[in-house]
């Protein structure tokens, strides 16, 4: 449903317009205001929902909100217990936050691609990209935070020397030290990059396909966007789940002393 203003620029202009964030500042100090705003808004939504459930939490018959919150808590707790052996006060809440937040980010993808930019343009906002997970900054922010936690726990559990030994002497023993180091560093650095790029790639591609569908005549659009949206319900949940599970797995690897 290309609006009049973009018709002049053609399909390319329409796509570029939809994928350009609302930004502010120059160079590195550019801020993607839409990403920051919508992720904070969705984070607030997540926190508000769970906080209201937690406030009314009782061991008796739970209400609807509490039941739903508990369902998610149990789900996350099962995942954590399956792959993480040991005690950590951080890992389960972290996993819950990641799952819910990423899911909410991705969920924004299911809104019609033009609805928020249209509302934005009525309010005088030129560019608006509402899905935070189509912004590399958002996905990398999360994966780098997880990476920091991996390094922190590796050092905390194994000690600085233990962690260094693991980097240098595994998997091929001390005689191949440089090779080991290279392999291990690539392995470690691949973790945050793969986490971030997987989520970004899936959602960016999904959003792009929605935009492409929106370029088609209106009578074809439902036939394509409806199945794609249904398929996307699976994708957004799956991506949130993968991000959470991999975080748990990486952190449990950091906790394991060889």
């Amino acid at each position: 449903m290309a609006t009049e203003a973009h018709a002049a620029e053609g399909a390319t202009g329409y796509i570029i317009h939809h994928l350009t964030p609302l930004h502010f500042g120059e160079g590195f100090w550019t801020l993607h205001l839409d990403t920051l705003f919508f992720s904070a808004l969705l984070g607030g939504l997540f926190v508000w929902f769970f906080k209201s459930a937690a406030e009314k939490a009782t061991a008796d018959v739970p209400g609807l909100v509490q039941s739903f919150a508990e369902m998610l808590i149990e789900f996350v707790d099962t995942q954590v217990k399956d792959s993480f052996h040991g005690h950590s006060k951080l890992i389960a809440p972290l996993a819950l936050t990641i799952f819910c937040w990423v899911f909410l980010w991705n969920f924004m993808d299911l809104f019609p691609v033009d609805i928020f930019p249209l509302i934005g343009s009525l309010m005088g906002i030129e560019y608006l990209r509402v899905v935070p997970s189509t912004d590399l900054n958002a996905t990398f922010a999360m994966s780098i935070s997880v990476f920091c936690l991996i390094i922190f726990y590796s050092i905390k559990i194994k000690g600085p020397w233990g962690f260094a030994k693991e980097l240098m002497f595994q998997p091929f023993g001390p005689w191949l030290l440089p090779f080991n180091l290279l392999l291990k560093l690539v392995e470690e650095i691949a973790k945050p990059i793969s986490l971030a790029l997987r989520l970004f790639g899936n959602l960016y591609a999904g959003e792009l396909i929605f935009i492409l569908i929106a370029l088609l005549p209106w009578y074809i659009q439902p036939a394509l966007s409806f199945p794609w949206a249904i398929f996307h319900i699976l994708i957004i949940t799956l991506q949130a789940f993968i991000f959470m599970v991999l975080t748990i797995v990486y952190l449990s690897m950091a906790h394991e002393d060889h």
Partner: protein, 157 residues
């Protein structure tokens, strides 16, 4: 598609969210879950115990009932026996009493018969005496003929 300061902002938001979840969301919800799990386990255990108790009580009740039945049948049989005994006793008593009555009646009859016989004898003796007097035409002296009179009366008896 450039990495920029948004990254830092997002990291701060993320850290805040994780901190908040860890501090205010996870513990109460998880605790309530645990507590409910415990409650349910307790409830199930209590239910099981209750069922066991019920089975035990049923068994006990059956035992008591059986005992009571036995006791009552015992009592009934005893009572029957006692009743029979009483009937027998009274029968015996009645028989004895009857016999006694018959005996005393017989004795009375005998006595009366004796009396009647005695009086009859005396009358007959007197009658014989007076007949003999008339035949002899003289008075028989009672004193003189005492032994004859008694002999006659003895013969009559």
């Amino acid at each position: 598609m450039s990495i920029n300061a948004t990254l830092i902002g997002q990291m701060i938001t993320f850290a805040l969210l994780v901190w908040f979840t860890m501090k205010y969301i996870w513990p109460p919800l998880f605790d309530s879950l645990e507590e409910r799990r415990k409650k349910i386990a307790e409830g199930l255990a209590a239910a099981e115990k209750g069922q066991e108790d019920m089975i035990l009580a049923e068994k006990k009740a059956k035992g008591v009932l059986k005992e009571a039945k036995e006791q009552s049948s015992e009592i009934v049989s005893l009572a029957q026996k006692r009743a029979n005994e009483i009937v027998e006793e009274s029968k015996e008593l009645a028989k004895k009493e009857g016999d006694r009555l018959i005996l005393s009646a017989k004795a009375q009859i005998d006595q009366e018969m004796q009396q009647a016989r005695e009086s009859l004898r005396q009358e007959v003796a007197a009658l014989a005496l007076s007949a003999a007097e008339q035949i002899l035409g003289a008075e028989i002296d009672h004193g003189k003929h005492q032994d004859i009179i008694s002999k006659v009366s003895n013969q009559l008896g």
